[in-house]
Amino acid sequence: MRGVPLLALRHLVHQRWASTIIVLCLTITLLLPAVAHVLTSSYEASLTSRAAATPLIAGSKGNRFDLTLSVLYFRKSGVEPVRMSDVEAIQAQNFGLAIPMHVAFTARGLPVVATTPEYFEHRNLRAARGELPVIMGEVALGARAARDLGVAPGDFVFSDQRELYQIAAAPALKMRVVGVLAPTDTPDDDAIFSDLRTAWVLEGLVHGHEDPKKLRPELVLGGTDSHTVLSEAMIEYNEITPENVGTFHVHGTSSELPVSAIMVVPANEKASTLIKAQVNASKTMQMVVPSDVVSDLIAFVFRIKALFDALAVLLAVTTALLTALVVALSLRLRAREIQTLHRIGCGRWTVFRLCAVELMAIGLVSCLLAAAGVAGAVASLSALPRML
């Protein structure tokens, strides 16, 4: 290297701390709005596409954001569950498909999504390895969940205990992994899917145990010809196997079993309008259009982003002014050097080029660092569904 670039580089290296501080300031100024833009754009795209692929959601009256996010991103919500009878009622209207979803439980920190095979069909989910869960106690893991947990078909995962100190509660269930889903880059990749009945087992509403006639007498508290009252000291099965699956039963009626929400896929526009009207007329249920809810959510997010954009502009102006001040002070400090250069006869524009090359080098390094930061943000976008 020679000439002005050499001088510029040597000066930047000589003033390494000042150069580094300016580079960092510029990098942050460039990086913050760029990353905010990338993240919000990706957030918007992710939310919108997921919502668009989910026509309607029925659930108990309550926070519509909670209800929507519980179905789209398997977040536990504070919304009361609905009953299987509600699912059957919607299904009976023949307006389309009603897919019950239960998202109240987790296994090793990941949501256990209990649903019916129609869910996999609607979301176009297929097993990359093994098969889809169709029997109580079977689970299929999303691609990322399987990778993170390091499990494969044939392995087992335990559900997380909800009530650590209530010994009478349903125990953690040992669930057999029967499949791993193909990756989709959606929240489905981070979930554990099971048959709907598995969720009711986790709830303790469906359980299995030894034949009461074969139990020790002290575990049988009493009963009639049709019912037997058993002691809570009796230990239920914590694994569903081909041998004991026949012993699992529900106390009460199946139609009263809970589900978190119902995904509704109407047959057409008219069916959509009618089913919405019918459900919304109910005193206990609501029907939401996920794309509308998400639009409202995004509008809220973008109002916050507008605030951040304004702050970013303020930051950019401040940084520009400070940089100009630093350059002006630097020129003042270098007045003797500049005078010497002029006196020995250096070209008219050489000093200008010297400063310009230094500023360009600082700008270039800042841009490269900011670009690297944006690339890092883009690379971390795969975690976005999980953040939601």
Partner: protein
């Protein structure tokens, strides 16, 4: 007659060393306005090839202004100045810069080395910043010339160091090498011994004389040090060769 006057009188009679004028100024008038306005008029001044000329005068009398005019750093309002056969007073700024960097080597009082460059790059500074039309190319010959100069003045072992890691004497040698590396016709030294003790001043002068002689360059040195005037071929006492005007 004072020491200065006798030195000037004696040196003014010294025969010129070469027939060709490296610098020729005639009817030069320069002024600047403002609160401390100043005028300088030189009717006639020639400096010939190979001469060693001292420029003396009281502080503020315009010594630095005159050498700046002769080197083409400043342009006179009137009159002609020829430098190495080129009419610098009529040249454009770019032409003057190109001529100056090619034909004039400068040694400053504080040496004015660039802190962020090594000694070697300081010596080669003119090659780094020369305008294209000056025709200075930073090639192997230039580097060899810089190496040879450095060896001659005994700083070849510190060429990779920055000025902060050089002693005063080493910095001074770097400045002299920088002035000579372009093989200039004229070396202008603006009080290079101003801050030095007598021993160091004498050594610097030896070095300048020796190196300019070897390079075949003419030396014009601004100085306040009357003790060294007898070593010059000619001494120009500015108040005597120019009319200087200052506000009353």
């Amino acid at each position: 007659m004072s020491g200065l006057e006798s030195a000037v009188a004696e040196r003014a009679q010294t025969p010129l060393r070469g027939p060709n004028a490296v610098v020729r100024a005639s009817n030069v008038f320069f002024s600047y306005g403002g609160a401390d306005s100043f005028t300088l008029q030189v009717d006639s001044l020639d400096i010939f090839a190979g001469e060693r000329v001292a420029l003396v005068g009281p502080s503020g009398c315009g010594k630095t202004t005159l050498v700046s005019l002769l080197a083409g750093v400043l342009t006179p309002q009137r009159g002609e100045i020829d430098l190495a056969g080129v009419r610098v007073s009529a040249a454009t700024d770019e032409q003057r810069r190109a001529l100056r960097i090619r034909t004039v080597g400068m040694v400053f009082q504080e040496f004015e080395l660039l802190e962020y460059l090594s000694a070697m790059d300081n010596i080669l500074l003119a090659f780094h910043v020369a305008p294209r039309r000056a025709g200075l190319t930073l090639d192997r010959a230039a580097r060899q010339r810089a190496q040879a100069l450095a060896q001659r003045v005994g700083i070849q072992h510190v060429l990779h160091r920055g000025p902060r890691r050089l002693s005063q004497g080493e910095r001074q040698r770097v400045a002299i090498c920088r002035a000579l590396v372009t093989e200039p016709t004229l070396v202008i030294a603006d009080e290079p011994t101003g801050n030095l003790d007598p021993v160091s001043a004498a050594a610097t002068l030896d070095l300048l004389f020796e190196q300019t002689r070897r390079a075949g360059a003419t030396l014009l040195m601004v100085t306040h040090n009357h003790a060294i005037l007898d070593r010059f071929d000619r001494v120009l006492d500015l108040p005597k060769v120019a009319q200087i005007g200052r506000p009353a």
